[in-house]
Amino acid sequence: MSLALDIFTVVAISVGAFFFLAGTVGLLRFPDALTRLHALTKADNLGLGLVVLGLLPQAAGLPGALKLVSIWLLAQLAGATVAQLIARAVRPGGPQA
């Protein structure tokens, strides 16, 4: 059981780390701000999400796990809002007035 959980942790965190890699590559290589924003949000959502998922079996009891999940939810909320705000500011002909 413990081994299976450990394997789950390793797989989920590795995939999460891959999304951070993808996000960084996108941020560096994509041609304009909106596509870069697209790459960033993937790293934000999935990268952190999978890392949290992978850490859940290692968490200290239910309170620890709940704390991890709430950190992810807060990051989601903040990330989504900031991405919206950046996109509005970047988009040509956006709500300037």
Binding site: L77, A78, R88
Partner: protein, 313 residues
Amino acid sequence: MTLALAIDAGLAVLVLAVATWTIAVRKTFAAVVGFVSYGLLLALVWVRLLAVDVALTEAAIGSGVTGVLLLAAAARLRPTEKGAAAEQPGAALCFVTAILSAVVSAGLAALVLLPTNPAPTLAQAAVANLPATGLGNSVTAVLLAYRAWDTLLEKVVLVLALLGVWSLAPDALWGGRPGPRYPAQRDGALVFLAQLLPPVGIVVGIYMLWVGANEPGGAFQGSTILAAMWILVVMAGLGDAPPVGRRWLRLVLVAGPMVFLAVGLSGFAIAEAFLAYPVGYAKPLIILIEVPLTLSIAATLGLLVAGPPERAE
């Protein structure tokens, strides 16, 4: 072990790279972005040094709130950037400064490389007396029991800094509202965040204060989060800063230091000295001090970021 050292070395190089860029970049706004990143990386460094209390403080105050303060100033001073570029000192001065700064760094580095053996420490003494305070977190014990005098004075410094900021207001606006009035946002995203985040932030702030007795955390860290949530509400246009002349506001600002001082003075009567706690009552008294202190620090930090009064009441 080598993996940990490699990560530490990488982190140190990263901190230095961001710091160099913050100093070297032309635009002030970009420099502030660099500074906030620098603060975030420093929080990671503190975690690597196993100083979790400091990491919390750095993440909250050093990076977050200081960053927002500098950011607002950079946005206002944007018109002056052009003129300032013409005042850059000559290459000779830069060169001499670089040499002298390098000498200072080299001297400090030599101190780091020549450690005293055994290293001086008060950790044993701090832990030995921990049971008398009833606390589990030795850093909180230093701040509020062993060296409470320093912490009391620090609160006074915060209030004095706020008085200094307020005294920069033009006479006509004395007692008015600080900072610009942010228009109520038309689009939903920011308002949504500003409605959803503060309740969570208040819970987290109280949690930080509560666990501070036994785990890393405490009055500063909790109050910084409370202050940040208040500023967020103001920025979203959901609320406005109160006029600084209000009596209730001033009471909130001084409540923490006053309770602290009252407990300290009562030490003469119920214990043997100023700021001494009677045996067995240290923890309740420390919590009695910390709760109003958290509110006062939160209000002070928020108003320090808001700046001097700018609008009539």
